[in-house]
């Protein structure tokens, strides 16, 4: 019995440790190539140069434009998905009848399961022309359309997971709030959402991660022009777009150009690492415990 418990715990432990091994493997793959990259390109240039043209005749290796592009599309996506997703979660939980929720949730989850290639073409062929009617100066490839569509795609990540978190808050808390004469809105945002905050933050982290790492939509609809800008109406390039572009393309493996994708990859990795640690810290600090 005791041995069995030990074995089970060991197996569970092993499963958890596998995640470290995966990370180690990823870091190893990224590092081994980027170390060679940084032996040829100074890290200062990499971080401060405002141009990214490693594949052109006049080479610049400044990652900033790609980072800006990534942040821009992600920001647009979150600006769309967070308010809508959270509203849906609260609405489903506090306002709508149970059966409605049970049908709507899976329906919305479909949004997350549509292949991103399809979204990309939707952004390019439907959303962009539509937005161009509103913003005539909008370029054919732009961060705005890609971001909006990406936002739509990640709505269910936020809405479903946040809804789960909210509905896990004990009923007695909701009763206490209603018993004090709270409206549904006050109950939701004054009591339920704060009590579920750790779950909600997790859902947003997952959504941001998904947005940062999303490839096909931005590759198709946001353009492939590295540009240091915060203007969402012009073509930009994200880190992921660059990586997929190079790995699908024609660059000889083993060359400096090829290693740029690992340098870009490790940047993305560091970037998400910082982001996750920040949200982790926030979560730790503000997490409310209840029984």
């Amino acid at each position: 019995m005791r041995v069995q418990e030990r074995i089970i715990e060991g197996l569970l432990w092993l499963s958890a440790v596998i995640t470290i091994l995966i990370t180690a493997a990823i870091v190893w793959v990224l590092l081994s190539e980027s170390v060679r990259f940084f032996s040829e390109v100074s890290i200062i240039d990499f971080l401060t140069d405002k141009q990214w043209t490693p594949l052109f005749a006049e080479k610049h290796f400044g990652i900033l434009p790609l980072v800006a592009g990534t942040l821009l599309t992600t920001a647009v996506a979150i600006a769309v998905a967070l308010p809508i997703g959270l509203t849906i979660a609260v609405y489903l939980n506090e306002y709508s009848p149970g059966r409605f929720r049970q049908t709507i949730k899976p329906l919305l989850e479909i949004l997350a399961s549509i292949p991103t290639v399809v979204y990309g073409f939707f952004a390019l062929t439907v959303v962009t022309p539509f937005l161009q009617k509103l913003i005539p100066s909008l370029a054919g490839f732009n961060a705005l359309s890609a971001g909006i569509v990406m936002g739509i795609m990640i709505i269910p990540m936020i809405s479903s997971l946040s809804e789960d978190a909210i509905s896990a808050v004990p009923r007695s808390l909701r009763e206490a709030a209603y018993g004090m004469g709270s409206t549904r809105l006050q109950t939701a945002f004054g009591v339920m959402v704060p009590a579920a905050s750790s779950g909600i933050v997790v859902s947003v982290i997952l959504a941001i991660s998904r947005a940062v790492g999303e490839t096909m939509i931005v590759a198709i609809a946001a353009g492939q022009q590295p540009r240091l800008t915060l203007d969402p109406t012009v073509p930009i390039e994200t880190i992921t777009t660059y990586i997929v572009q190079v790995s699908l393309g024609d660059v000889p493996h083993g060359s400096l150009e090829y290693r740029t994708i690992f340098a870009a990859g490790i940047t993305l990795f560091v970037f998400t690492f910082a982001l996750n640690n920040l949200s982790f810290w926030i979560k730790k600090k503000y997490q409310e415990k209840y029984d």
Binding site: L173, A176, G181, S182, E288, Y290
Partner: protein, 254 residues
């Protein structure tokens, strides 16, 4: 019509959880500024009835009410009644302590804040007053900004009572409010109930016969979803009309 000034009345009230008939044809009229106690064996419907009095059961799927409940003569289940205002009028304290996962202070002033009150001084004064009323002030005054969840069960329940008092409702419903309290706190709460009934109408569910005897003016005895007997507490405890009541009160039940 009734000559007396009834605060709360139930008329031909029936309540159902889905197909389960939880309250059967309840007729009762509760006097203003008096304490009415609900007693009866476990599962007889005391909590259910109490919760229909401020429509807390609205949120339970499948729950359904027939008949009328009148607060100051107005049907609380009427279309134009606002539940949130009803609940400010009819406060509630629950069986299990349910403080918000916020600070102690935030818990007490929650009701005021959601009404839009922002004046810091008023909030602080009300908080202190309510916490004193529930004999909690001395224990928590140094940790008002600590999480309410770190309090012991008894302290939590007293906090919930303070929270309900802070919005000064005219009716206070209490579902076994002292079942998680020690005798000292219980005594203080009972004292408080005594004081409060000068201004408030109080309905209390209790399992403690002594408590019912001590605090209530009227007692209602429920059994299997029916209101068996309703009378002045003294009358009921000394000369109950129904044998069942008698058996229950004296503990010879079952």
């Amino acid at each position: 019509m009734s000559k007396k000034n009834y605060k709360l009345e139930a008329k031909d009230l029936n309540a159902y959880y889905g197909s389960f008939h939880a309250l059967k044809n309840i007729n009762i009229a509760m006097e203003e500024k008096a304490v009415t106690a609900f007693i009866g064996p476990s599962g007889c419907g005391k909590s259910t009835f109490l919760r229909t009095l401020n429509r807390m059961n609205d949120y339970i799927e499948g729950f359904r009410v027939e008949g009328d409940i009148l607060l100051d003569g107005r049907d609380i289940y009427a279309k134009d009644v606002r539940v949130d205002e009803l609940r400010k009028e009819v406060g509630m304290v629950f069986q299990k302590p349910n403080p918000f996962p916020k600070t102690i202070f935030e818990n007490v002033v929650y009701g005021l804040k959601i009404q839009g009150l922002k004046d810091k001084r008023v909030l602080a004064e009300t908080a202190e007053k309510s916490l004193r009323q529930t004999a909690l002030w001395d224990e928590v005054k140094d940790k008002l900004d600590k999480s309410a969840l770190a309090l012991s069960g008894g302290q939590q329940q007293r906090l919930c009572i303070a929270r309900a008092l802070a919005i000064s409702p005219s009716v206070i419903l209490m579902d076994e409010p002292t079942s998680a309290l020690d005798p000292i706190s219980t005594a203080k709460i009972e004292e408080l109930i005594f004081k409060l009934k000068n201004d408030y109408t109080i309905v209390i569910v209790t399992h403690n016969m002594q408590q019912a005897g001590r605090v209530s003016d009227y007692t209602a005895f429920f059994y299997m979803g029916e209101l068996v007997e309703f009378a002045k507490t003294r009358t009921m405890f000394t000369s109950p009309k129904h044998e069942r009541t008698q058996n229950y009160i004296t503990g010879r039940f079952g």
